[in-house]
């Protein structure tokens, strides 16, 4: 645990990417596989299931520290993180032992699941007396199921690659899917030979950066192709060894949720991997994302939902053909192979992503202008000879999203944030006018600078009208320009509308609350 805590501290304590990677490289070179396997899992965002309700843990911490509940809550307000609050309140460790990370997990953490409450209490109490400082913080994060480190999977992959000499792409592929933190998995991760047995494993998704320059800076338009950027669920459909697996970009196995795609995939030849977007689709046209959400939210797909909200896979790319990794072949070649493969299935569930061919950049501009009409989020620009990369990379692919809808709204509620923004009010609720009353319609978290957040926080504290738990009702004074991607009628919201991806574009200090927009303006955007 000590070495893992040192690794965590080293990553946490620097803003430099290189130093984070260096710290991981050093750790992976020396850690025993059983520990390293857990480290990889945690660093890649794996979280243990929460085994004890947090309120119960907090109660135990209060008992151990003799801190009354009201004072505990004051401390929690100041810290903004329960695991850290407990770590800071508990007395310093009595003894320090150095038990390796995997033994903490295997012998102390996982067994909590089957223990009685009394035995859990004893075990946790003991762990608190044995661990101090960062180790105790990490431990509390683990038992509350909230452990998170500030590194991306891409950096973990880079560090593993540097520590072992195995290619980054190979490591990334081996890590995708359901990777279990066992010592043998770690050893396999670093193995020389590349015949990987796991038939379900997807490839890491290739992601695009937002377009930064003018189109003309991309060079000759005819070297590029444009596709619509759809707002659905990015997924890979895998057919191997007569089995089908559908992975979402969040690396969740979602095969069961999309039976129509799974059924069509039976007709794909073995050793095929398609990359595409799962879209709600009816009569050759996309439905709103909210419809897909209705479907995702369901436990079972009974009733009429399958006919109300059918889905297709808009196929973007072919990553594997006859068991061969195609990712380093040029896009044009992959696209040809993809069309042939889909054609052969004779299925209407696989829809090749329509391509807008470009003879000049004006063609791209014209298509971009039509995006909203086509219910697309914008355009994807892909170089015809681009390879299918790993993670988010600049160069071969760019995304060009349509400008968001905007509206001026008044902030009426504020709530403290979490993590880096704990103890600052960073979650705001915004309202527009409806018959002289402010009706809330959106919450937004991001878009202000740190200085603006600090100013606003001070103002919020001084201008709170009423407090409901963590939520402060503030005077309706400040107007913000909000941007959002889509808007839908919603009976669940007081305002009757639901907006997608709302965010703050600007603090309109030049506007008064009476200058904010009305519900009619908002409704008009739906038309």
């Amino acid at each position: 645990m000590k070495t893992f805590a040192r690794l965590f501290a080293a990553i946490d304590e620097t803003m430099r990417t290189n130093e984070k990677v260096d710290a991981m490289v050093e750790y992976f070179r020396s850690a025993e596989p059983a520990d390293a396997a857990w480290a990889v899992w945690f660093l890649s965002g794996g979280r243990p299931k929460r085994l004890i309700p947090v309120r119960r843990l907090a109660t135990w911490a209060m008992e151990e520290t003799q801190v009354p509940e009201w004072l505990f809550n004051e401390c929690y307000d100041a810290v903004g993180d329960l695991a850290e609050t407990m770590s800071l309140l508990l007395p310093d460790a009595e003894s320090t032992t150095d038990v390796p990370l995997h033994r903490w997990i295997d012998e102390r953490l996982l067994p909590l699941a089957t223990k009685s409450e009394e035995a859990q209490r004893a075990s946790i109490g003991r762990s608190w007396r044995e661990l101090g400082g960062t180790e105790r913080f990490i431990w509390n994060k683990l038992i509350t199921g909230g452990f998170r480190v500030g590194v991306s999977q891409q950096l973990v992959v880079r560090a593993l690659s540097r520590a072992t000499g195995v290619d980054e792409g190979v490591i990334a592929h081996r890590l995708s899917g359901t990777w279990l933190p066992r010592p043998e998995s770690f050893t396999a991760l670093l193995a020389e030979e590349t015949s990987d047995a796991d038939v379900s494993r997807p490839y890491p998704f290739f992601l695009a950066y937002p377009l930064e320059d003018e189109l003309d800076a991309l060079g000759d338009a005819s070297a590029w192709q444009a596709e619509w950027k759809w707002d659905g669920i990015r997924a890979q459909v895998i057919r191997r060894s007569a089995q089908t697996f559908i992975w979402s970009r969040g690396e969740e196995l979602v095969t069961e949720r999309f039976p129509e795609i799974a059924a069509a995939a039976d007709f794909l030849p073995d050793g095929t991997v398609l990359d595409g977007e799962i879209m709600p689709w009816k009569e050759g046209k996309p439905l709103a994302f909210a419809q897909l959400q209705r479907r995702i939210g369901r436990k079972s797909l009974g009733g009429s939902i399958l006919t109300d909200v059918p889905v297709v896979l808009i196929a973007y790319d072919l990553l594997e053909l006859e068991g061969r990794d195609l990712r380093s072949a040029p896009l044009a070649e992959r696209r040809r192979a993809m069309l042939d493969t889909i054609e052969a299935t004779r299925s209407t569930v696989f829809v090749p992503s329509p391509v807008v061919s470009l003879s000049s950049w004006d063609d791209a501009r014209a298509a971009y202008g039509e995006a909203r009409e086509r219910c697309a989020e914008g355009l994807m620009l892909k170089q015809r000879d681009s390879v299918y990369g790993v993670g988010r990379r600049k160069g071969g692919w760019w995304k060009w999203k349509v400008q968001p809808f905007t509206i001026d709204a008044v902030m009426i509620y504020a709530q403290a944030g979490h993590g880096r923004r704990a103890s600052l009010h960073t979650d705001y609720t915004f309202a527009v006018w409806a018959d002289g009353v402010l009706v809330p319609f959106a919450k937004a978290y991001s878009g202000l600078t740190d200085a603006e957040i600090a100013d606003l926080d001070r103002w919020i504290r001084a201008n709170t009208v009423e407090k409901y738990g963590p939520v402060r009702h503030v005077k309706p004074v400040h107007v913000f320009e909000l941007g959002f991607e889509g808007i839908q009628p919603s009976p669940r919201h007081k305002s009757g509308v639901a907006v997608r991806f709302p965010r703050i574009l600007r603090w309109r200090t030049d506007k008064k609350p009476e200058d904010a927009d009305t519900i009619e303006t908002l409704r008009a955007l739906m038309a």
Binding site: T14, R16, A78, E84, R420, R421, S423, A454, D457
Partner: protein, 343 residues
Amino acid sequence: MTLLRLAERGLYCEAGDFYIDPWQPVERAVITHGHGDHARWGSHRYLSSREGESVLRTRLGVSTTIRAVDWGEPVDVSGVRISLHPAGHILGSAQIRVEHRGEVWVASGDYKVEPDPTCTPFELLRCHTFITESTFGLPIYRWTPDRAVFDEIRAWWRANRDHGRASVLFGYALGKAQRLLAGLADADLGPVYTHGAVERLNRDYRRGGVRLAETQYASGMPRGHDFSGSLVVAPPSAAGSTWLRRFGSISTGFASGWMRVRGNRRRRALDRGFVLSDHVDWPSLLATVEGTGAERVWVTHGTREPLVRWLTERGIEAKAVASLWKGEEDTDPVEVAGEEVTA
């Protein structure tokens, strides 16, 4: 009428007609210490500890009328007996003991009880009413011995030096900066540079016999000077400023009690936070209140309400008093935002 009360211009003693740390100009001001929220410019006459006189002049101007007294030396003002006693916060920081007809009040200003080589250690005084700060008035604030903190700072400096980087350490220009320089006097890791705001006050400390690391004024170095491997001590307001550009590749650290909470460090986008405070932590705060034997406690600044409630539940008459004192300056605006600006 109580012996001391909060008036428009600050904490006022009617019987002796003087103010303690007034925030507006008055006839007679008794000053606990030289921080900007306690020592305000413009009063006619000031009473200060002898140890703090030099800092006070640097802050208020050389021609200020200051009467300096030794620790414990009584000053009689119309039957009110005033004496100054060490508060252990920064060089010359004092608690003000006020005695009138057998009743004793102590205004502690800012204080800490941990040993600090840059000032005379805190003296525990018995009193009827104790006026305390509570900048860090929550049990999450518990300090580790400063030797361990200085070990961390040295290790950080050494690692930066080995990477050819300068270590920029932020700390409040008066007090914290000198405590850092005293703690690193024998570090022997490389040259130490300072920001002008820090360097000015270093003179007062050295004149007061405090041994600090040898320093050079950073802005006095020629253009293109190589700062790699050095330590730079600067006030927190220098963070993110163009002044830092001259140092080339740097790692940043901040020495403050606020650094005990991870979010405070992360929000500032600093590389390192070192938990080093010149204010009293929760356990020492409670022990001090108990040690004074006070029946009544006024809590003036910081996180006041929890301390007031804690003491009230233990049978001590406690109340929060609104003041313009802020405790650790240059902290997050959030932490001082709770202070009402009322008399």
